[in-house]
Symmetry: C2
Subunit: 207 residues, 2 copies
């Protein structure tokens, strides 16, 4: 029965095509990062992001340039093209602060929510972010704004136990999960917008 | 060509069956919980878990019994049948402590990793867990053991910003993500086993 053989061959070819198309589609990012991350030099990574294509000046510092959880986190953030929402209890890591300012300069819409009691501590990056023109809002001190998440281009969620501090990155046991999946991104985006409105400065009561 | 028609009908039936089987398979748990969670009574939930099927004694407390982020988190934990790994910076919430002891009594293999500096604070559940015979290990104070995750039956990951404290649950802005997906569960399980070995009491140096 040649007709049956032809039909089966056609069906098999169709199935193979469908499977190949599935594989060609870019696989969504799914990554888990653990800390502590050993001290490392992220200069080349940040310089390249600031001036893509320009020859990298070699950094004179003695730290290794190896791939690590911090450099991976930086790469995920630096992939932002349109928007970045950040919701962080504590933010004092200079490299991450530099990356966020860099994105702002590049035209990415950056919004930051943080905790009122921690934003003024020594080493906090919040002042530098505001100085650079980035919008920052904070709670009014009823409980902690204890989230530690970021959303890149409304499609990638970065969340976990990690505050963006050098102490946490280099010495604590921490985890960060990266998920590119609307089912998880959507509720975090909604939570961000709720907090963003609630912490609108016009609502500050200066109790 | 009746042969071809039969073959195509068979193929279509096979495809329909495969699609139905996909749908019948239990959908993996994917949940996001936000806090603060309003004070609520979890007595019925815990009593039912302790003695399934027994008539629930009505709790005299005035708190609402409504569904909330805490009751959802409790339900996820209480679904454990074989094993529960917990890796928590701070653990002082009485309801969550009670749930963990209940699982231990039910024969679930419970292992807890926590932070040395926080486990002795007032209200900590760690002493009660150890008293109940649950294995607990802790760091030796170099940096914080700052994780906040749990793994149920080696298949469900519960992770986020939330420490299991009443203060965090009732007053902080917090998030918890529940993922039933081997690609995420596996690295967290591996991290737990690494920490579990590193914090083996035979390694304590009492510096």
């Amino acid at each position: 029965r040649p007709g049956l053989a032809v039909a089966m061959a056609a069906a098999a070819a169709g199935l193979a095509l469908a499977m190949a198309a599935r594989r060609w589609r870019r696989r969504p990012v799914r990554e888990v990062l653990f800390f502590p991350s050993p001290p490392s030099c992220t200069e080349a990574l940040l310089a390249e992001a600031a001036e893509p294509g320009s020859p990298a000046r070699p950094c004179p510092c003695p730290l290794p340039r190896s791939d690590c959880s911090l450099s991976r986190l930086l790469r995920r953030l630096l992939s932002a093209r349109r928007s970045l929402e950040i919701c962080l209890f504590a933010f004092s890591c200079p490299q991450l602060g530099r990356a966020v300012r860099l994105l702002h300069r590049r035209g990415v819409r950056v919004r930051v929510v943080t905790d009122a009691q921690y934003m003024g501590l020594r080493g906090s990056q919040i002042g530098l972010l505001r100085h650079a023109g980035i919008q920052v809002r904070h709670d009014q001190g009823h409980g902690y704004m204890h989230h530690k998440f970021a959303i890149v281009d409304r499609r990638m969620l970065i969340t976990g136990s990690l505050n963006w501090t050098t102490q946490a990155i280099q010495t604590n046991r921490e985890n960060v999960l990266v998920v590119e999946d609307a089912e998880y991104v959507k509720p975090y985006l909604d939570e961000f917008e709720r907090i963003w409105e609630e912490y609108n400065p016009t609502n500050y009561r200066f109790l």
